[in-house]
């Protein structure tokens, strides 16, 4: 299948851009960053094309459905959304330092998706997944997760930036944007992620109501998405308390992303539940 071939090449492209972003950070070579950006955009285009091709291929197989229906497809889409958000941010703040972490995360996700432990076959939709809510539910959830992922990268950078010492001339830290900008961007990413997570939970509830007859049943996936929602709700409220901005919010936001990862990965492989078809 041509789509998986393109996707595995995309993984190498993200690897190359990660290396170049890193060289830019360590040696302060701006040109490396520019090449990395071009590569990342190229990777994003190839990634998009592969997803569309996969969609087309499923129709050619006679089992047509959006490529958002199993573990492999969700990983691929997760990485896509992450890179998409990163490219938007790079364009907005004209700073490439976030790229090091964003491309690394996307690279790890794609490498895992391409590994032999993940089945990349296009499978037909089982009855419960045959719903108009599939596309909306998966897109809102994963774009939300990606926004939280970028928030995680920003928090990481924020904490690195805080190590800044005027005496040391560390290029790595110099190229990172101002901590205020990072804080504000992180807050914005959390807002976007939070709204999308809420929409993801709501569309999931509507779907569950039509498939299983209840909109909420405390199954592990639902509960963990609720836990994630609570943590980010706490992050948003904490901003209104004096002294909770900055470092504390960065750490809090990182905890939130661990919850996201657990909702996504942990529930499928450590806990079991109704969502197990996604494994």
């Amino acid at each position: 299948m041509i789509n998986s071939v393109i996707l595995s090449y995309t993984t190498f492209v993200y690897f190359a851009s990660f290396m170049l972003y890193l060289i830019m950070m360590v040696m302060g070579k701006e040109i490396m960053g520019r090449v990395a950006s071009l590569l990342t955009i190229g990777g994003l285009i190839a990634h998009t094309v592969a997803i569309i091709l996969r969609w087309v291929e499923s129709y050619q197989m006679g089992i047509g459905h959006a490529p958002l229906s199993n573990w492999y497809e969700s990983l691929v889409f997760f990485a896509w959304a992450m890179i998409f958000f990163y490219v938007l941010i790079e364009w907005r703040i004209r700073n490439r330092s976030i790229g090091t972490f964003a491309s690394l995360l996307a690279l790890l996700i794609m490498a895992y998706a391409s590994s032999s432990s993940v089945d990349s076959q296009i499978q037909p939709l089982i009855p419960v997944l045959k719903s108009n809510w599939l596309i909306t539910h998966v897109i809102t959830c994963f774009v939300g997760y990606a926004a939280f992922g970028i928030g995680f990268c920003l928090s990481l950078l924020y904490l690195v930036k805080k190590l800044d010492n005027p005496k040391k001339k560390n290029i790595f830290i110099k190229v990172i944007p101002d901590s205020d900008i990072l804080d504000e961007l992180n807050y914005q990413m959390i807002i976007i992620g939070f709204i999308l997570l809420t929409l993801g939970i709501i569309t999931g509830a509507v779907w569950a109501h039509s498939a299983w007859g209840r909109y909420w049943g405390w199954d592990p996936k639902e509960t963990w998405s609720f836990i994630t929602w609570l943590v980010y709700a706490a992050v948003l409220h904490s901003r209104m308390i004096r002294g909770w901005q900055g470092k504390r919010m960065a750490i809090f936001s990182m905890i939130g992303f661990f919850c996201v990862i657990f909702t996504y990965y942990g529930v499928n492989f450590i806990l079991s539940g109704l969502h197990s078809y996604a494994t």
Partner: protein
Amino acid sequence: MMIESNNKKKSNSLWNMLSSMKLTLTLLILLAITSIFGTLIPQQQEAMKFAQGLSPGLLRFFELLGLFDLYHSLWFRAIIALLALNLVICSINRLPTTLRLFRAPSRTDRSKPFENLPPERSFLVKGGIEDVGRHVANFLRKRYRGVLIKSTPEKSYLYAERGRYSYFGVYFVHFSILLILMGGIIGSVFGFDAYVNILEGGTVDTVVLRRDMTPMKLGFSVHCEKFSVEYYENGSPKEFRSDLSFHKEGTLPLKGSLLMNQPFTFGGITFYQSSYGSIPSKVHLKIQKEGSDLGELVIEVETGETFSVPGSESQIQVEDAVSNLNGMMGPAALISVKPKEGEEIRFWVFQDIERLSKQYPEAMLQAPRMNPSSFKPYTFFLQNLESRSYTGLQANKDPGVSLVWLGCFIMVAGFFMTFFTSHRKIWVRISKSEEEARISVAGRTNSNPLTLEKELDLVTGQLHKLLDKEGKKI
């Protein structure tokens, strides 16, 4: 007097605690942590096995705290209730401030916003301040409502604003949470959650409530005409489908198909396709009588049906039939023989007797419970088990669900109001500067400073362009 003021102080401190943001944070985190436990400890039906492995003391502790049904326990609900109370009290507390901000009169001539104005927000144009002021006012009126102007011969202030209602976004969000909780409560008090299995060709008028496993009359009957499963080429299921008809006295029967993701509502009760399976119904038996010319007797009986064989007055019944006994012994039927005198004889008859005789020791199959010749002088053989498929339906009524959806809608709308709209106030100052007029643009906002900056850039740029064009006309 002393006591009274003390009381007041006390109630005030309670009020302060309940309205504090720190309590909100504590409760959110507490709810998150306790929810985690519910995903680690097996809940409800799955709890049985886990509970058996616990020591009696630990078991009592778990039961006391309701840890096997954590999300429905009193204390978990109490945390949610406390959070709701906190939310209501916070809203009440903040309302006067919000209303003051919302109703605050617009102040046209303010110099404070113009302090530290970045140079790109100010420019010079040709013309008198009255002419220029008119153009600016027209420009602002096109974009904003309620433009205010205050002029002196030396200076002219124009004020415009947008998004005053944004102060209420957060109230919508919080109100929506109360709506969703209310919907949940209404659903659990006035609704029910039940299930029923209907055999293909069968009819039911009762469902079983999950809450306490008691039967409940539907008030109408449901007949299953057909249940079918479609498969893909690779063998995974493609579609589950139950063709049902609903019968209520005095009305014509209503046909309806039930698919996964496609429930059917009748008489206020919604049916969902939830499971399926098959149960053995008809049993084909072959009976031989030792040392007789009876030969073979072949009979077909339903489970539970009683029959007799020639040469004996005993009542024979097929008590039970299972498609796979103990999960490995294959199709089997439990035969019970009640002789006129003496004790009842019960034994299992297997269809795969040849395979079993190779797999299991002979002594085991000769045991009275397993020996097909236990009822002398007859030997029983199980030839075939006919099975009938059934469809498993979920039957629900939830009058609270529309309130939940309304809450969800309001929550998302509230998010957009809170996060993407803001009260933006814009001032344009026109001051005389010899032959020219100096235009300065400044603004204030309650949130989203970046959006305001963009708006100010846009207003400044467009004003500059417009006024330059107007200046050339003169």
